[in-house]
């Protein structure tokens, strides 16, 4: 592998991992809020979350640029207050991926929250568990398969994210040139196909590695949650 390829590989891994990590807490909070609370404007929030998906990725990318560029209102504020610059840095790539992948993470988590038997949460309350403890010890562990599915979707989507990243932070070698952007660059040079293919294979390898981790986590969770027990307790048929 050439140094550029290695660089793009690690950058992609870093960006996708960070995007997943950045998305997870707000996705959990939002999924819970949308699923468990009835409030006016709930539908609006729901639609808003979905938004980045339904637009071509350049659009969210440009909006990020307007908002978080060095000249953008939020970008200036971030820099002034925390000294954080996201524009044209890998942090911006993380942000672009996170925004695009966020809806993909929220949906499975919501689904898991919905399918949990609320009576178990109530049973915990009768044992003195205050709401946050119920959430941490009952709701969240029972929703684990949903969390894992959400993370898989989010990570995969981040790995493949191209349009928003390109529009927001550009294609800067070593800083924002993730695998998809590097692949794009290769389509513009003669005989770039072989190189693009190599990078595509690297993307796939990365995704497979992530999938393996998720499978392992999933199997662990299944064991912990006793799904497999259920299956075992009744028949291999």
């Amino acid at each position: 592998m050439s140094p550029e390829e290695t660089q793009a590989l690690w950058l992609s891994a870093k960006v996708a991992l960070c995007a997943t990590a950045v998305c997870l807490p707000p996705a959990i909070a939002l999924a819970w809020w949308l699923e468990r609370r009835r409030f006016p404007g709930r539908f609006l929030i729901d639609a808003l979350v979905q938004l980045p998906m339904v637009l071509p990725p350049v659009v969210p990318g440009y909006l990020l640029l307007l908002l978080l560029g060095t000249q953008g209102p939020l970008g200036r504020w971030l820099e002034a207050t925390f000294g954080i610059v996201v524009a044209f840095t890998w942090k911006g790539a993380v942000l672009a991926s996170a925004v695009m992948a966020f809806p993909l993470m929220v949906q499975p988590i919501r689904l898991a929250f919905r399918l949990i038997d609320a009576r178990l949460e109530h049973a915990a309350a009768t044992l003195g568990a205050r709401p946050w403890r119920v959430f941490a010890t009952i709701t969240l562990p029972l929703a684990m398969p949903g969390l894992i599915a959400g993370c898989v979707l989010c990570f995969s989507r981040s790995l493949g994210e191209f349009g928003a990243t390109m529009a927001f932070v550009g294609n800067i070698p070593g800083e924002t040139r993730t695998l998809p952007l590097a692949i794009y660059s290769l389509t513009h040079v003669p005989d770039g196909e072989a190189g693009a293919m190599r990078l595509a294979l690297l993307s796939i390898a990365l995704a497979v590695a992530a999938l393996l981790v998720s499978h392992w986590l999933g199997a662990r969770a299944e064991r912990r949650l006793g799904f497999s027990d259920h299956r075992a307790a009744h028949a291999e048929l």
Binding site: V58, Y62, L65, L66, G69, T70, Q71, G72, A87, F88, M166, A167, G170, N171, I172, P173, G174, E175, T176, R177, Y184, S185, T187, H188, V189, P190
Partner: protein, 236 residues
């Protein structure tokens, strides 16, 4: 404070310049300078990024519009602006399926090839703007109605022709040269469309090192590279 070691020049350039600029950059590096950082994309996206304060010293556009856009907004150093390169518009066909075409009005282009004609989206993407002008000038636009497939950049159009999905395509000479899977049917005469030029300029916040690199881009050494990639290098 005294300037630290020389910083790498940051270039935002139209994607069609990828190959040529990469080569110029390695020459520059070989001359003892730090490897320039080259970020490629669509001219439009790059322009908006420069407008938003992108870390670019040098902007190279594939058409005049987007350079004007930045010029009007005061984001570039107008004094350094120059049309460094030119390109030629060519009609291509899949390799082995080349056809004959006379590049003049009255030629029955519709019957000359089978299937679709691919190019950048007519009137929108730079190559499509030139293509539309040329087709209209040759009065081929009407006969080809309904057979034109637009794409978002030249490379997609090229890929369609390479795969034989389109019987013909209009791309830049530089692109046709990249691919072994297409044959150039003919070049469009220069008068059939507006001149294809690549304006370069330093950005308003360019680092001092960038001026030297821009000078290098105008050197005979660089010109030779550009020519080898099929660009024309107009004499100032």
């Amino acid at each position: 404070a005294a300037p630290a070691t020389e910083q790498p020049v940051r270039v935002f350039a139209a994607a069609s310049l990828t190959d040529a600029l990469n080569e110029v950059a390695s020459q520059w590096k070989r001359a003892g300078h730090p490897q320039p950082s080259l970020a490629f994309g669509a001219s439009s996206a790059l322009a908006k990024q420069v407008e938003a304060g992108a870390p670019a010293d040098l902007y190279a556009s594939a058409d005049l519009k987007w350079m004007d856009y930045l010029d009007q907004r005061g984001r570039i150093d107008s004094a350094t602006r120059a049309n460094l390169l030119g390109n030629t518009l060519v009609l291509i066909a899949p390799a082995g399926k080349a056809f004959k075409a006379r590049m003049q009005p009255g030629f029955a282009i519709a019957a000359a090839f089978k299937g679709k004609l691919c190019t950048g989206e007519p009137g929108v993407v730079p190559v499509g703007i030139y293509a539309k002008q040329a087709l209209e000038h040759l009065r081929w636009w009407q006969p080809l109605q309904g057979r034109i497939v637009g794409t978002d950049d030249v490379r997609t159009a090229l890929a369609f022709v390479e795969r034989g999905e389109c019987g013909a395509g209009i791309v830049y000479a530089t692109d046709a040269r990249i691919s072994g899977a297409v044959a150039t049917v003919a070049a469009f005469p220069a008068q059939t469309h507006a001149p294809i030029v690549y304006p370069f300029a330093l950005t308003r916040d360019a680092r001092p090192e960038a001026a030297a690199f821009l000078r290098f881009l105008r050197s005979p050494q660089a010109a030779a590279i550009f020519r080898r990639h099929g660009f024309t290098v107009p004499k100032d």
